[in-house]
Symmetry: C2
Subunit: 331 residues, 2 copies
């Protein structure tokens, strides 16, 4: 697939410039463009910081703002931000109450965020929440546990709302860790990811094929299967998710259908319809919904389904006001 | 391109079901599923109604809610809703202050909305605003004037805010007509639209080609050109737009980069950066920005740039609270 770009080298920087210009009412670049942070920080509030490789937009930059993140660091395409970038974000965003780093579980991200913690540890109180919602990684035996994917948004929203309410660092970490245990995501791709460097897909699929258990970095999925109806695809995702998590009668949940970059809204809503019916049959009460393109893998045609089992308190935090580029509401 | 779908016949209905389930807090189906309307109508407020063929989601259903539309009718893919559907929406949404129909300028839409007006004229006061922001149609000499495309969102938001403030029908029509005269849109496609019936693109582009002046119904554009850098593409769109509209010194504007369905957010922000720089060079004050996938042409890979010259009053109406699936904010 073609891309709207100039050069692979400048693509991320130009996109970030556009983002900051479009949302300058509430975001600015940090010093040296090492992160994007809130224009106005709240003294005494625990700072929430996340980040990761570029190519997943609007995550995480689109989640910076009141009620969610204080700062987000971005690396090159699918490449972790450097420890120096993350340490700089900590330096800028911490107003005295400490920092919570929300990290997607990938080796590079975990390593660089931990190095940044060490660099900043003598001047800042820092805790981490590592998100690992992707159920497919465990099966592929990649070793380091499950990947963090679309469910990261849910952690950032709910912990972000709790931080806004003034909760302290240790409590925010507990909320994030508990929540991560109750979120599951599984994705499917109908096509590969076109890398900016060579304009070629990372893997090719025939017209009758799809990749199940896809991640968000252009890597192949868990298994290649025959392309089938949306109903069959979504039921397979939902079956796998619901087999992996303990659903009690009257469980309340957020159901989130996420586009991976090139899937239009009409198809996402159609997928949501199938997922919603499935969950209702299983007696899951879908109390909240999110449908849209939030956590992408460049221009991948595909989607993921996320189920997050929520307590009433977490639902209230989900509903709490948020002013970011990608999520914006008030009660 | 493959699609997440079951059958071409049920695709629109299933997608609409998913939409209503995801946003049931503020939208419901109208009687007989002839439209999607606000769950709670405001007695005494002029009803704003729009609609068009399906395949453009989130437009118009995603603009139904407080501060924007009262009801939206959807047809089959790229096919106008029937006069019966539109008349039914008028019947349900008009709470006594009359109806303003916001119509994209396409023969089928104009004809069917006008027939619905005739059907409802004895019981309802009705006015229309016909949106015609696409600058490319005039050149192709298709006869009926310019098409209504992404700029329709701007009209629906601003007139919607004015309706919420209690303005009467005639005044809302004047606001809409005046505004339409100051909005210009131009689009570009890097690939064709895959029709659900046959899973084939409506036109094919080679790897080194793009379609300039594209519409939103899978029709070919104004000219086929060599694919080039984002900078060159966006400057061409912006040049054409700014040559077509009278920009005074210190003109204030909304700049809107819209994805046509399969273009990821990172590329839209990169395009926004180029468009923003262009407009700044021309001394246009970009007071407000919108970047995202709002007015689609199924799974078309492409984007459009919209420039809307706004008065301070119109900017205030743009900023007014809105609670819809696609646009949601409060001051």
């Amino acid at each position: 697939m073609k891309k709207f770009m100039n050069t692979a080298e400048t693509m991320v920087a130009e996109s970030m410039e556009g983002f900051v210009r479009a949302h300058e009412a509430f975001v600015v670049f940090g010093t040296g463009r090492k992160c994007i942070r809130r224009r106005h920080l709240t003294p005494g509030k625990v700072a929430l910081i996340s980040g990761g490789g570029a190519g997943h937009e609007p995550m995480h930059i689109g989640f910076v703002g009141k009620g969610m993140l204080d700062a987000a660091c971005f690396g090159h395409i699918f490449t972790s931000p450097t420890p120096d970038q993350i340490a700089s974000a900590i330096e800028e965003a911490d107003t005295g109450a400490g920092c919570l780093l929300i990290i997607k579980n990938y080796d590079g991200d975990v390593m660089n965020f931990e190095m940044a913690m060490e660099m900043a540890a003598d001047r800042h109180r820092i805790e981490t929440v590592v998100v690992s919602d992707d159920i497919e990684t465990a099966r592929t035996g990649e070793g380091r546990g499950r990947r963090g994917v679309a469910g990261t948004l849910v952690v950032e929203k709910i912990v972000g709302a709790a931080a806004e309410q003034g909760l302290e660092l240790g409590e925010l970490k507990r909320i994030g860790d508990r929540l991560n245990g109750r979120i599951r995501t599984m994705g499917v791709a109908l096509g590969g990811v076109t890398m900016p460097q060579n304009q070629r897909p990372t893997f090719s699929l025939n017209a009758d094929e799809m990749e199940m258990g896809i991640g968000i970095h252009g890597e192949p999925g868990h298994s290649r299967e025959h392309f089938s109806s949306a109903e069959a695809i979504i039921r397979h995702l939902c079956e796998t998710i619901s087999a992996d998590i303990s659903i009690q009668p009257d469980t309340k949940a957020l159901l989130f259908v996420n586009g991976l970059g090139a899937t239009p809204p009409a198809e996402l809503y159609l997928a949501y319809y199938a997922a919603h019916r499935f969950m209702e049959e299983r007696m899951v009460h879908i109390e909240r919904a999110l449908v849209g393109t939030y956590v992408t893998s460049l221009d991948m045609q595909g989607l993921s389904v996320t189920l997050a089992l929520l307590t009433d308190e977490e639902i209230a935090l989900w509903d709490a006001p948020v002013v970011t580029a990608a999520l914006r509401w008030s009660p």
